[in-house]
Protein backbone atom coordinates (compact mmCIF):
# COMPACT_ATOMS: atom_id res chain seq x y z
CA UNK A 1 0.00 0.00 0.00
CA UNK A 2 1.22 3.49 -0.73
CA UNK A 3 -0.09 6.56 1.02
CA UNK A 4 -2.98 6.69 3.47
CA UNK A 5 -6.20 4.76 2.91
CA UNK A 6 -8.95 6.99 1.60
CA UNK A 7 -12.32 6.14 3.11
CA UNK A 8 -15.55 7.90 2.19
CA UNK A 9 -18.45 8.50 4.54
CA UNK A 10 -21.79 10.30 4.70
CA UNK A 11 -22.27 12.42 7.83
CA UNK A 12 -24.64 10.11 9.76
CA UNK A 13 -24.45 8.67 13.28
CA UNK A 14 -24.06 5.14 11.93
CA UNK A 15 -20.62 6.07 10.55
CA UNK A 16 -19.63 6.13 14.25
CA UNK A 17 -17.43 3.03 14.34
CA UNK A 18 -15.49 4.20 11.29
CA UNK A 19 -15.02 7.79 12.47
CA UNK A 20 -14.09 6.80 16.02
CA UNK A 21 -11.70 4.14 14.69
CA UNK A 22 -9.78 6.87 12.91
CA UNK A 23 -10.14 9.84 15.25
CA UNK A 24 -9.60 7.93 18.50
CA UNK A 25 -6.50 6.20 17.13
CA UNK A 26 -7.74 2.59 16.85
CA UNK A 27 -6.82 2.56 13.16
CA UNK A 28 -3.37 4.01 13.85
CA UNK A 29 -2.84 1.35 16.54
CA UNK A 30 -3.40 -1.24 13.79
CA UNK A 31 -0.74 0.46 11.69
CA UNK A 32 -3.23 2.13 9.37
CA UNK A 33 -3.04 5.65 8.14
CA UNK A 34 -6.52 6.75 7.10
CA UNK A 35 -7.90 9.84 5.44
CA UNK A 36 -11.65 10.14 5.96
CA UNK A 37 -13.47 11.95 3.15
CA UNK A 38 -16.91 13.39 3.82
CA UNK A 39 -19.30 12.95 0.90
CA UNK A 40 -22.61 14.49 -0.10
CA UNK A 41 -24.41 11.67 -1.89
CA UNK A 42 -24.59 7.87 -1.93
CA UNK A 43 -24.03 7.98 -5.68
CA UNK A 44 -20.70 9.69 -5.07
CA UNK A 45 -19.63 7.23 -2.39
CA UNK A 46 -20.54 4.30 -4.65
CA UNK A 47 -18.82 5.75 -7.74
CA UNK A 48 -15.64 6.74 -5.94
CA UNK A 49 -15.41 3.34 -4.29
CA UNK A 50 -16.14 1.55 -7.58
CA UNK A 51 -13.44 3.32 -9.56
CA UNK A 52 -10.85 3.17 -6.81
CA UNK A 53 -10.74 6.80 -5.65
CA UNK A 54 -11.76 5.35 -2.28
CA UNK A 55 -10.22 2.23 -0.78
CA UNK A 56 -13.20 1.69 1.48
CA UNK A 57 -16.49 3.37 2.33
CA UNK A 58 -19.38 3.73 4.74
CA UNK A 59 -22.10 2.42 2.45
CA UNK A 60 -25.80 1.63 2.50
CA UNK A 61 -26.00 -2.16 2.72
CA UNK A 62 -28.41 -2.37 -0.26
CA UNK A 63 -26.06 -0.23 -2.40
CA UNK A 64 -23.26 -2.72 -1.75
CA UNK A 65 -25.58 -5.50 -2.94
CA UNK A 66 -26.90 -3.52 -5.94
CA UNK A 67 -23.34 -2.74 -6.99
CA UNK A 68 -22.42 -6.44 -6.86
CA UNK A 69 -25.51 -7.32 -8.90
CA UNK A 70 -24.93 -4.49 -11.40
CA UNK A 71 -28.29 -2.86 -10.62
CA UNK A 72 -28.71 0.81 -11.44
CA UNK A 73 -25.09 1.24 -12.37
CA UNK A 74 -21.89 -0.52 -13.33
CA UNK A 75 -21.32 -3.94 -11.84
CA UNK A 76 -18.54 -3.93 -9.27
CA UNK A 77 -18.41 -6.80 -6.76
CA UNK A 78 -18.26 -5.45 -3.22
CA UNK A 79 -17.18 -7.15 0.00
CA UNK A 80 -18.46 -6.05 3.40
CA UNK A 81 -16.19 -7.38 6.16
CA UNK A 82 -17.80 -5.26 8.90
CA UNK A 83 -21.37 -4.20 9.59
CA UNK A 84 -21.38 -0.54 10.63
CA UNK A 85 -24.83 -0.51 12.19
CA UNK A 86 -28.01 -2.41 12.92
CA UNK A 87 -31.23 -0.34 12.84
CA UNK A 88 -30.86 3.39 13.55
CA UNK A 89 -33.48 4.80 11.17
CA UNK A 90 -36.79 6.34 12.10
CA UNK A 91 -39.97 7.45 10.34
CA UNK A 92 -40.84 11.07 11.00
CA UNK A 93 -44.14 12.64 9.98
CA UNK A 94 -45.36 16.22 9.78
CA UNK A 95 -47.52 17.51 12.67
CA UNK A 96 -50.54 17.50 10.34
CA UNK A 97 -50.07 13.90 9.26
CA UNK A 98 -49.33 12.90 12.84
CA UNK A 99 -52.62 14.42 14.02
CA UNK A 100 -54.51 12.69 11.19
CA UNK A 101 -52.93 9.32 12.04
CA UNK A 102 -53.62 9.67 15.77
CA UNK A 103 -57.25 10.45 14.98
CA UNK A 104 -57.63 7.24 12.98
CA UNK A 105 -55.48 4.92 15.06
CA UNK A 106 -57.05 1.88 16.65
CA UNK A 107 -54.48 0.33 18.95
CA UNK A 108 -51.07 1.14 20.35
CA UNK A 109 -49.45 4.12 18.64
CA UNK A 110 -46.05 2.37 18.57
CA UNK A 111 -47.54 -0.73 16.92
CA UNK A 112 -46.58 -0.46 13.24
CA UNK A 113 -49.62 -2.45 12.12
CA UNK A 114 -51.91 0.01 13.93
CA UNK A 115 -50.17 3.05 12.40
CA UNK A 116 -50.09 1.46 8.93
CA UNK A 117 -53.85 0.80 9.16
CA UNK A 118 -54.37 4.40 10.25
CA UNK A 119 -52.30 5.49 7.25
CA UNK A 120 -54.52 3.40 4.96
CA UNK A 121 -57.57 5.26 6.33
CA UNK A 122 -55.90 8.67 5.87
CA UNK A 123 -54.93 7.74 2.31
CA UNK A 124 -58.49 6.61 1.54
CA UNK A 125 -60.12 9.74 2.93
CA UNK A 126 -57.66 11.98 1.09
CA UNK A 127 -58.51 10.21 -2.13
CA UNK A 128 -62.22 10.74 -1.48
CA UNK A 129 -61.54 14.46 -1.00
CA UNK A 130 -59.48 14.60 -4.16
CA UNK A 131 -56.40 15.69 -2.20
CA UNK A 132 -52.87 15.15 -3.52
CA UNK A 133 -51.36 11.80 -2.48
CA UNK A 134 -49.07 11.88 0.57
CA UNK A 135 -45.36 12.17 -0.24
CA UNK A 136 -42.71 10.20 1.66
CA UNK A 137 -39.01 11.05 1.47
CA UNK A 138 -36.31 8.39 1.55
CA UNK A 139 -32.62 8.45 0.75
CA UNK A 140 -31.94 6.23 -2.24
CA UNK A 141 -33.68 3.68 -4.48
CA UNK A 142 -31.43 0.96 -3.03
CA UNK A 143 -31.80 1.92 0.60
CA UNK A 144 -33.03 0.36 3.80
CA UNK A 145 -35.20 3.49 4.18
CA UNK A 146 -36.99 2.75 0.92
CA UNK A 147 -37.63 -0.90 1.87
CA UNK A 148 -38.61 -0.12 5.47
CA UNK A 149 -41.18 2.49 4.46
CA UNK A 150 -42.61 0.13 1.84
CA UNK A 151 -42.67 -2.86 4.17
CA UNK A 152 -44.50 -0.86 6.83
CA UNK A 153 -47.24 0.74 4.73
CA UNK A 154 -47.81 -2.29 2.49
CA UNK A 155 -48.64 -4.39 5.57
CA UNK A 156 -51.94 -2.50 5.77
CA UNK A 157 -52.53 -2.58 2.02
CA UNK A 158 -51.10 0.85 1.17
CA UNK A 159 -49.39 0.47 -2.19
CA UNK A 160 -46.19 2.53 -2.04
CA UNK A 161 -46.20 3.08 -5.81
CA UNK A 162 -49.90 3.71 -6.34
CA UNK A 163 -51.35 5.18 -3.15
CA UNK A 164 -48.57 7.52 -2.06
CA UNK A 165 -45.47 9.10 -3.61
CA UNK A 166 -42.02 7.97 -2.59
CA UNK A 167 -39.27 10.44 -3.46
CA UNK A 168 -35.52 10.42 -2.99
CA UNK A 169 -34.15 13.29 -0.93
CA UNK A 170 -30.59 13.84 0.27
CA UNK A 171 -30.63 13.54 4.11
CA UNK A 172 -29.58 17.18 4.66
CA UNK A 173 -32.66 18.31 2.67
CA UNK A 174 -35.15 16.16 4.61
CA UNK A 175 -35.97 18.57 7.42
CA UNK A 176 -36.43 21.58 5.11
CA UNK A 177 -38.63 19.55 2.79
CA UNK A 178 -40.84 18.50 5.71
CA UNK A 179 -41.08 22.09 6.90
CA UNK A 180 -41.97 23.41 3.45
CA UNK A 181 -44.58 20.69 2.91
CA UNK A 182 -42.62 19.25 0.00
CA UNK A 183 -42.93 15.90 1.81
CA UNK A 184 -45.38 14.77 4.51
CA UNK A 185 -43.04 12.25 6.08
CA UNK A 186 -39.61 10.70 5.69
CA UNK A 187 -37.51 7.75 6.72
CA UNK A 188 -33.88 8.59 7.42
CA UNK A 189 -31.02 7.85 9.80
CA UNK A 190 -29.81 9.87 12.76
CA UNK A 191 -29.52 12.74 13.45
CA UNK A 192 -32.13 14.08 10.98
CA UNK A 193 -35.24 12.78 12.76
CA UNK A 194 -34.17 14.44 16.00
CA UNK A 195 -33.40 17.68 14.21
CA UNK A 196 -36.92 17.76 12.71
CA UNK A 197 -38.41 17.19 16.18
CA UNK A 198 -36.23 19.89 17.76
CA UNK A 199 -37.31 22.39 15.11
CA UNK A 200 -40.95 21.54 15.77
CA UNK A 201 -41.62 20.38 12.20
CA UNK A 202 -41.94 16.64 12.81
CA UNK A 203 -42.99 13.79 15.11
CA UNK A 204 -41.01 10.56 15.20
CA UNK A 205 -43.72 8.00 14.44
CA UNK A 206 -41.56 4.88 14.49
CA UNK A 207 -38.11 3.72 15.28
CA UNK A 208 -37.26 1.26 12.54
CA UNK A 209 -36.76 -1.32 15.28
CA UNK A 210 -40.59 -1.29 15.62
CA UNK A 211 -40.77 -2.62 12.07
CA UNK A 212 -37.78 -4.96 12.03
CA UNK A 213 -36.07 -6.16 15.19
CA UNK A 214 -32.75 -6.43 13.41
CA UNK A 215 -31.97 -4.69 10.13
CA UNK A 216 -28.48 -4.33 8.69
CA UNK A 217 -28.08 -0.67 7.86
CA UNK A 218 -24.61 0.42 6.69
CA UNK A 219 -21.56 -1.65 5.97
CA UNK A 220 -17.88 -1.00 5.70
CA UNK A 221 -17.48 -1.69 1.99
CA UNK A 222 -14.41 -2.48 -0.10
CA UNK A 223 -14.05 -3.74 -3.64
CA UNK A 224 -13.92 -7.52 -3.74
CA UNK A 225 -10.73 -7.41 -5.85
CA UNK A 226 -9.13 -4.98 -3.39
CA UNK A 227 -10.04 -7.24 -0.46
CA UNK A 228 -8.38 -10.18 -2.22
CA UNK A 229 -5.22 -8.15 -2.80
CA UNK A 230 -5.02 -6.56 0.64
CA UNK A 231 -6.16 -9.16 3.19
CA UNK A 232 -3.96 -7.72 5.95
CA UNK A 233 -5.31 -4.20 5.49
CA UNK A 234 -8.88 -5.52 5.53
CA UNK A 235 -8.18 -7.44 8.74
CA UNK A 236 -6.59 -4.38 10.37
CA UNK A 237 -9.57 -2.24 9.36
CA UNK A 238 -12.00 -4.75 10.85
CA UNK A 239 -10.06 -4.90 14.13
CA UNK A 240 -9.95 -1.09 14.34
CA UNK A 241 -13.71 -0.88 13.70
CA UNK A 242 -14.45 -3.61 16.26
CA UNK A 243 -12.44 -1.75 18.91
CA UNK A 244 -14.11 1.54 18.02
CA UNK A 245 -17.56 -0.08 18.26
CA UNK A 246 -16.67 -1.50 21.69
CA UNK A 247 -15.52 1.94 22.77
CA UNK A 248 -18.75 3.59 21.58
CA UNK A 249 -20.95 0.99 23.26
CA UNK A 250 -19.36 1.52 26.70
CA UNK A 251 -21.64 3.96 28.54
CA UNK A 252 -18.70 5.81 30.12
CA UNK A 253 -17.42 6.77 26.64
CA UNK A 254 -20.73 7.97 25.21
CA UNK A 255 -20.13 11.64 25.61
CA UNK A 256 -16.59 11.44 24.21
CA UNK A 257 -17.82 9.43 21.22
CA UNK A 258 -20.58 12.00 20.60
CA UNK A 259 -17.99 14.79 20.81
CA UNK A 260 -15.77 13.08 18.23
CA UNK A 261 -18.71 12.65 15.84
CA UNK A 262 -19.89 16.23 16.39
CA UNK A 263 -16.69 17.79 14.96
CA UNK A 264 -17.40 20.11 12.03
CA UNK A 265 -15.43 17.98 9.55
CA UNK A 266 -17.30 14.82 10.65
CA UNK A 267 -21.08 15.20 11.29
CA UNK A 268 -21.02 18.87 12.22
CA UNK A 269 -24.09 18.73 14.46
CA UNK A 270 -24.58 19.18 18.19
CA UNK A 271 -23.05 16.42 20.34
CA UNK A 272 -26.19 16.25 22.50
CA UNK A 273 -28.34 15.32 19.48
CA UNK A 274 -25.85 12.62 18.47
CA UNK A 275 -25.82 11.24 21.99
CA UNK A 276 -29.60 10.73 21.90
CA UNK A 277 -29.22 8.35 18.95
CA UNK A 278 -26.37 6.49 20.60
CA UNK A 279 -28.33 5.97 23.84
CA UNK A 280 -31.66 5.29 22.12
CA UNK A 281 -33.37 7.95 24.26
CA UNK A 282 -35.04 10.18 21.71
CA UNK A 283 -37.33 13.14 21.93
CA UNK A 284 -40.16 12.10 19.62
CA UNK A 285 -42.47 15.10 19.69
CA UNK A 286 -41.91 18.85 19.63
CA UNK A 287 -43.74 18.93 22.99
CA UNK A 288 -40.87 16.96 24.50
CA UNK A 289 -42.18 13.38 24.78
CA UNK A 290 -39.19 11.06 25.20
CA UNK A 291 -39.14 7.46 24.05
CA UNK A 292 -36.43 4.98 24.90
CA UNK A 293 -35.47 1.82 23.09
CA UNK A 294 -32.62 -0.60 23.60
CA UNK A 295 -32.76 -1.43 19.90
CA UNK A 296 -32.68 2.01 18.34
CA UNK A 297 -29.16 1.74 16.97
CA UNK A 298 -26.75 -1.14 17.54
CA UNK A 299 -23.18 -0.15 16.79
CA UNK A 300 -21.39 -3.21 18.09
CA UNK A 301 -23.43 -4.92 20.79
CA UNK A 302 -25.35 -8.16 20.19
CA UNK A 303 -22.85 -9.06 17.48
CA UNK A 304 -23.92 -6.11 15.34
CA UNK A 305 -20.50 -5.74 13.72
CA UNK A 306 -20.41 -9.26 12.27
CA UNK A 307 -21.92 -9.23 8.77
CA UNK A 308 -24.81 -11.68 8.47
CA UNK A 309 -25.56 -13.03 4.96
CA UNK A 310 -29.18 -13.65 5.99
CA UNK A 311 -29.56 -9.86 6.24
CA UNK A 312 -28.22 -9.55 2.69
CA UNK A 313 -30.74 -12.16 1.57
CA UNK A 314 -33.56 -10.18 3.20
CA UNK A 315 -32.49 -7.02 1.37
CA UNK A 316 -32.26 -8.98 -1.88
CA UNK A 317 -35.82 -10.23 -1.26
CA UNK A 318 -36.98 -6.60 -0.93
CA UNK A 319 -35.33 -5.75 -4.26
CA UNK A 320 -37.27 -8.63 -5.81
CA UNK A 321 -40.53 -7.71 -4.07
CA UNK A 322 -40.38 -4.14 -5.39
CA UNK A 323 -39.37 -5.06 -8.92
CA UNK A 324 -35.78 -3.83 -8.82
CA UNK A 325 -34.46 -7.22 -9.88
CA UNK A 326 -35.69 -10.70 -10.72
CA UNK A 327 -35.28 -13.56 -8.29
CA UNK A 328 -32.62 -16.09 -9.21
CA UNK A 329 -30.41 -18.47 -7.33
CA UNK A 330 -27.42 -16.69 -8.83
CA UNK A 331 -28.56 -13.22 -7.70
CA UNK A 332 -29.28 -14.47 -4.20
CA UNK A 333 -25.90 -16.15 -3.98
CA UNK A 334 -24.15 -12.98 -5.16
CA UNK A 335 -26.07 -10.83 -2.68
CA UNK A 336 -25.32 -13.08 0.27
CA UNK A 337 -21.65 -13.27 -0.70
CA UNK A 338 -21.32 -9.49 -0.21
CA UNK A 339 -21.62 -9.91 3.57
CA UNK A 340 -18.37 -11.51 4.70
CA UNK A 341 -18.47 -12.96 8.22
CA UNK A 342 -15.43 -15.03 7.19
CA UNK A 343 -13.29 -11.90 6.80
CA UNK A 344 -14.61 -10.59 10.12
CA UNK A 345 -13.82 -13.85 11.91
CA UNK A 346 -10.38 -14.13 10.32
CA UNK A 347 -9.48 -10.61 11.41
CA UNK A 348 -10.36 -11.41 15.02
CA UNK A 349 -8.91 -14.92 14.95
CA UNK A 350 -12.35 -16.47 15.60
CA UNK A 351 -13.37 -19.78 14.15
CA UNK A 352 -16.86 -18.51 13.37
CA UNK A 353 -18.36 -21.78 14.50
CA UNK A 354 -21.61 -21.72 16.42
CA UNK A 355 -22.48 -18.24 15.13
CA UNK A 356 -26.20 -18.39 14.48
CA UNK A 357 -28.09 -15.71 12.59
CA UNK A 358 -30.37 -13.53 14.66
CA UNK A 359 -33.84 -13.32 13.10
CA UNK A 360 -34.82 -10.25 11.07
CA UNK A 361 -37.96 -10.14 13.22
CA UNK A 362 -40.37 -8.26 10.96
CA UNK A 363 -43.72 -7.20 12.44
CA UNK A 364 -45.63 -8.61 9.47
CA UNK A 365 -45.43 -11.70 7.31
CA UNK A 366 -43.92 -15.11 8.07
CA UNK A 367 -40.46 -15.69 9.53
CA UNK A 368 -37.87 -14.98 6.86
CA UNK A 369 -36.28 -18.00 5.23
CA UNK A 370 -33.39 -17.26 2.85
CA UNK A 371 -33.79 -20.77 1.41
CA UNK A 372 -37.30 -19.99 0.19
CA UNK A 373 -37.56 -16.37 -0.86
CA UNK A 374 -40.18 -17.11 -3.51
CA UNK A 375 -42.41 -18.70 -0.88
CA UNK A 376 -41.74 -15.89 1.56
CA UNK A 377 -42.71 -13.25 -0.99
CA UNK A 378 -46.01 -14.90 -1.93
CA UNK A 379 -47.31 -14.07 1.54
CA UNK A 380 -47.25 -10.34 0.77
CA UNK A 381 -50.30 -9.04 -1.07
CA UNK A 382 -48.78 -5.76 -2.21
CA UNK A 383 -45.83 -6.42 -4.49
CA UNK A 384 -44.18 -5.21 -7.69
CA UNK A 385 -42.58 -8.55 -8.34
CA UNK A 386 -41.97 -9.12 -12.03
CA UNK A 387 -44.23 -11.96 -13.23
Amino acid sequence: MTGPLRIGFIPLVDAAALIVAVDKGFAAAEGLEVELVREVSWSNVRDKLNIGLFDAAHLLAPVAIASSLGLGHVKVPIAAPFNLGINGNAITVSPALHAALMEEIDGDRFDPLATARALAKVVASRRKLGAEPLTFGMTFPFSTHNYQLRFWMAAAGVDPDEDVRLVVLPPPYMVDSLRSGHVDAFCVGAPWNSIAVDLGVGHILHFVSDILARAAEKVLAVRQVWADKNPDVVAALVRAAVKAAEFIESPENLSEAAQILAQPERLGVDAEVIQRSLTGRLKISPEGTVRESGRYLLVGREGAGRPDPVQAAWLCAQMVRWGQTALSTEALKTAMAVFRPDLYDAALGHSGEGQASAPVGAFAGPAFDPQDIAGYLTSFAVSRRAP
Binding site: S43, V74, P141, P170
Partner: protein
Protein backbone atom coordinates in the same frame (compact mmCIF):
# COMPACT_ATOMS: atom_id res chain seq x y z
CA UNK B 1 -34.66 13.65 -31.56
CA UNK B 2 -33.43 13.49 -35.13
CA UNK B 3 -29.79 12.86 -35.85
CA UNK B 4 -28.84 16.39 -36.90
CA UNK B 5 -30.73 18.20 -34.14
CA UNK B 6 -28.78 19.57 -31.22
CA UNK B 7 -29.39 17.44 -28.11
CA UNK B 8 -31.18 19.21 -25.28
CA UNK B 9 -28.79 19.61 -22.37
CA UNK B 10 -29.66 20.44 -18.77
CA UNK B 11 -26.95 21.70 -16.40
CA UNK B 12 -27.76 21.18 -12.72
CA UNK B 13 -25.33 23.36 -10.80
CA UNK B 14 -25.62 25.68 -7.83
CA UNK B 15 -22.51 27.56 -8.93
CA UNK B 16 -23.59 30.16 -11.50
CA UNK B 17 -19.98 30.79 -12.58
CA UNK B 18 -19.21 27.19 -13.40
CA UNK B 19 -22.57 26.72 -15.09
CA UNK B 20 -21.84 29.76 -17.24
CA UNK B 21 -18.39 28.46 -18.21
CA UNK B 22 -19.92 25.12 -19.13
CA UNK B 23 -22.82 26.64 -21.03
CA UNK B 24 -20.51 28.91 -23.00
CA UNK B 25 -18.30 25.96 -23.98
CA UNK B 26 -21.26 23.89 -25.08
CA UNK B 27 -22.67 26.73 -27.16
CA UNK B 28 -19.29 27.36 -28.79
CA UNK B 29 -19.18 23.68 -29.70
CA UNK B 30 -22.55 24.05 -31.40
CA UNK B 31 -24.88 22.72 -28.72
CA UNK B 32 -27.54 25.37 -28.77
CA UNK B 33 -30.17 23.91 -26.48
CA UNK B 34 -28.74 24.35 -22.99
CA UNK B 35 -30.79 24.99 -19.84
CA UNK B 36 -29.31 25.74 -16.41
CA UNK B 37 -31.27 24.63 -13.32
CA UNK B 38 -30.12 26.12 -10.04
CA UNK B 39 -33.20 25.47 -7.90
CA UNK B 40 -32.95 22.08 -6.15
CA UNK B 41 -36.38 21.94 -4.47
CA UNK B 42 -38.34 21.46 -7.67
CA UNK B 43 -35.56 19.72 -9.56
CA UNK B 44 -37.52 16.76 -10.89
CA UNK B 45 -40.45 18.87 -11.99
CA UNK B 46 -38.09 21.20 -13.87
CA UNK B 47 -36.30 18.30 -15.52
CA UNK B 48 -39.57 16.71 -16.63
CA UNK B 49 -40.66 20.07 -18.05
CA UNK B 50 -37.45 20.55 -20.05
CA UNK B 51 -37.34 16.87 -21.05
CA UNK B 52 -33.59 16.83 -21.76
CA UNK B 53 -31.46 14.31 -23.60
CA UNK B 54 -28.52 14.86 -21.31
CA UNK B 55 -28.32 15.99 -17.70
CA UNK B 56 -25.00 17.27 -16.40
CA UNK B 57 -24.62 17.58 -12.64
CA UNK B 58 -21.82 18.68 -10.35
CA UNK B 59 -20.57 15.69 -8.37
CA UNK B 60 -20.65 17.68 -5.15
CA UNK B 61 -24.37 18.28 -5.54
CA UNK B 62 -26.38 16.11 -3.10
CA UNK B 63 -29.22 16.02 -5.64
CA UNK B 64 -27.31 13.38 -7.58
CA UNK B 65 -29.17 10.80 -5.50
CA UNK B 66 -32.44 12.32 -6.66
CA UNK B 67 -31.40 11.79 -10.29
CA UNK B 68 -30.36 8.22 -9.55
CA UNK B 69 -33.93 7.56 -8.46
CA UNK B 70 -35.23 8.89 -11.78
CA UNK B 71 -33.91 6.01 -13.75
CA UNK B 72 -35.02 3.50 -11.13
CA UNK B 73 -38.65 4.55 -11.19
CA UNK B 74 -38.99 4.76 -14.94
CA UNK B 75 -42.77 4.59 -14.54
CA UNK B 76 -42.66 8.15 -13.27
CA UNK B 77 -40.65 9.55 -16.15
CA UNK B 78 -41.42 9.76 -19.80
CA UNK B 79 -38.24 8.05 -20.86
CA UNK B 80 -35.81 5.88 -19.00
CA UNK B 81 -32.55 7.58 -18.17
CA UNK B 82 -29.27 5.81 -17.80
CA UNK B 83 -25.87 6.89 -16.68
CA UNK B 84 -23.78 7.34 -19.78
CA UNK B 85 -20.76 5.42 -18.78
CA UNK B 86 -21.18 1.73 -19.29
CA UNK B 87 -19.02 -1.14 -18.18
CA UNK B 88 -16.48 -0.64 -20.95
CA UNK B 89 -15.92 3.02 -20.23
CA UNK B 90 -14.08 2.99 -16.94
CA UNK B 91 -11.52 5.51 -18.22
CA UNK B 92 -14.28 7.99 -19.03
CA UNK B 93 -16.00 7.55 -15.70
CA UNK B 94 -12.68 8.00 -13.87
CA UNK B 95 -11.91 11.19 -15.79
CA UNK B 96 -15.35 12.64 -15.15
CA UNK B 97 -15.46 11.68 -11.47
CA UNK B 98 -12.01 13.16 -10.95
CA UNK B 99 -13.08 16.38 -12.64
CA UNK B 100 -16.26 16.43 -10.56
CA UNK B 101 -18.82 16.08 -13.32
CA UNK B 102 -21.47 13.47 -13.71
CA UNK B 103 -23.63 12.93 -16.77
CA UNK B 104 -27.00 11.21 -17.14
CA UNK B 105 -28.06 10.39 -20.63
CA UNK B 106 -31.49 9.52 -21.87
CA UNK B 107 -31.46 6.04 -23.34
CA UNK B 108 -31.05 5.88 -27.06
CA UNK B 109 -28.68 8.80 -27.58
CA UNK B 110 -25.75 7.63 -29.65
CA UNK B 111 -22.46 7.18 -27.89
CA UNK B 112 -20.41 9.03 -30.50
CA UNK B 113 -22.59 12.08 -29.91
CA UNK B 114 -22.14 11.89 -26.16
CA UNK B 115 -18.36 11.53 -26.07
CA UNK B 116 -17.46 15.07 -27.27
CA UNK B 117 -19.96 16.58 -24.83
CA UNK B 118 -18.54 14.71 -21.90
CA UNK B 119 -14.94 15.47 -22.92
CA UNK B 120 -15.83 19.12 -23.15
CA UNK B 121 -17.45 19.07 -19.71
CA UNK B 122 -14.43 17.41 -18.15
CA UNK B 123 -12.05 20.00 -19.57
CA UNK B 124 -14.36 22.88 -18.59
CA UNK B 125 -14.75 21.53 -15.07
CA UNK B 126 -10.97 21.24 -14.81
CA UNK B 127 -10.57 24.79 -16.12
CA UNK B 128 -13.00 26.00 -13.48
CA UNK B 129 -11.13 24.16 -10.72
CA UNK B 130 -7.89 25.77 -11.89
CA UNK B 131 -9.53 29.18 -11.86
CA UNK B 132 -10.69 28.59 -8.28
CA UNK B 133 -7.19 27.52 -7.30
CA UNK B 134 -5.66 30.66 -8.81
CA UNK B 135 -8.22 32.79 -7.02
CA UNK B 136 -7.28 31.15 -3.73
CA UNK B 137 -3.60 31.66 -4.43
CA UNK B 138 -4.05 35.34 -5.26
CA UNK B 139 -6.09 35.77 -2.12
CA UNK B 140 -3.42 34.18 0.05
CA UNK B 141 -0.71 36.22 -1.69
CA UNK B 142 -2.62 39.40 -0.89
CA UNK B 143 -3.01 38.19 2.68
CA UNK B 144 0.76 37.51 2.85
CA UNK B 145 1.54 40.99 1.60
CA UNK B 146 -0.59 42.55 4.33
CA UNK B 147 1.13 40.44 6.99
CA UNK B 148 4.60 41.33 5.67
CA UNK B 149 3.74 45.04 5.73
CA UNK B 150 2.62 44.74 9.33
CA UNK B 151 5.72 42.76 10.39
CA UNK B 152 7.97 45.30 8.67
CA UNK B 153 6.27 48.05 10.68
CA UNK B 154 6.92 46.19 13.92
CA UNK B 155 10.60 45.61 13.07
CA UNK B 156 11.07 49.24 12.07
CA UNK B 157 9.58 50.43 15.34
CA UNK B 158 11.23 47.93 17.70
CA UNK B 159 14.68 47.75 16.07
CA UNK B 160 14.80 51.22 14.54
CA UNK B 161 15.31 49.87 11.01
CA UNK B 162 14.44 51.44 7.68
CA UNK B 163 11.74 49.76 5.61
CA UNK B 164 14.32 48.17 3.31
CA UNK B 165 16.40 46.88 6.21
CA UNK B 166 13.29 45.39 7.83
CA UNK B 167 12.43 43.54 4.62
CA UNK B 168 15.99 42.24 4.19
CA UNK B 169 15.93 40.95 7.76
CA UNK B 170 12.62 39.15 7.15
CA UNK B 171 13.85 37.65 3.92
CA UNK B 172 17.20 36.48 5.23
CA UNK B 173 15.53 34.93 8.29
CA UNK B 174 13.08 33.13 6.07
CA UNK B 175 15.91 31.79 3.90
CA UNK B 176 17.95 30.70 6.91
CA UNK B 177 15.00 28.90 8.52
CA UNK B 178 13.76 27.52 5.19
CA UNK B 179 10.32 29.02 5.73
CA UNK B 180 8.05 31.28 3.75
CA UNK B 181 8.52 34.97 4.35
CA UNK B 182 4.82 35.18 5.22
CA UNK B 183 5.29 32.61 7.98
CA UNK B 184 8.19 34.55 9.52
CA UNK B 185 6.13 37.74 9.31
CA UNK B 186 3.22 36.02 11.02
CA UNK B 187 5.41 34.79 13.88
CA UNK B 188 6.74 38.32 14.42
CA UNK B 189 3.18 39.63 14.65
CA UNK B 190 2.16 36.83 17.03
CA UNK B 191 5.23 37.38 19.21
CA UNK B 192 4.75 41.13 19.37
CA UNK B 193 1.08 40.66 20.35
CA UNK B 194 2.13 38.29 23.14
CA UNK B 195 4.69 40.80 24.42
CA UNK B 196 2.22 43.66 24.48
Amino acid sequence: MSADQSPKIVIVDESPVRAAILEEGLREAGFTEVVHIREMQSLLARIYAVDPDIILIDLENPSRDVLEAMFQVSRAVKRPIAMFVDQSDSASIQASVEAGVSAYIVDGLKKERIKPILDLCVSRFNAFAKLQEELERTKSQLEDRKIIEKAKGILMKVKGLTEDEAYVLLRSTAMREKKKIGEIAQSIITASEMLK
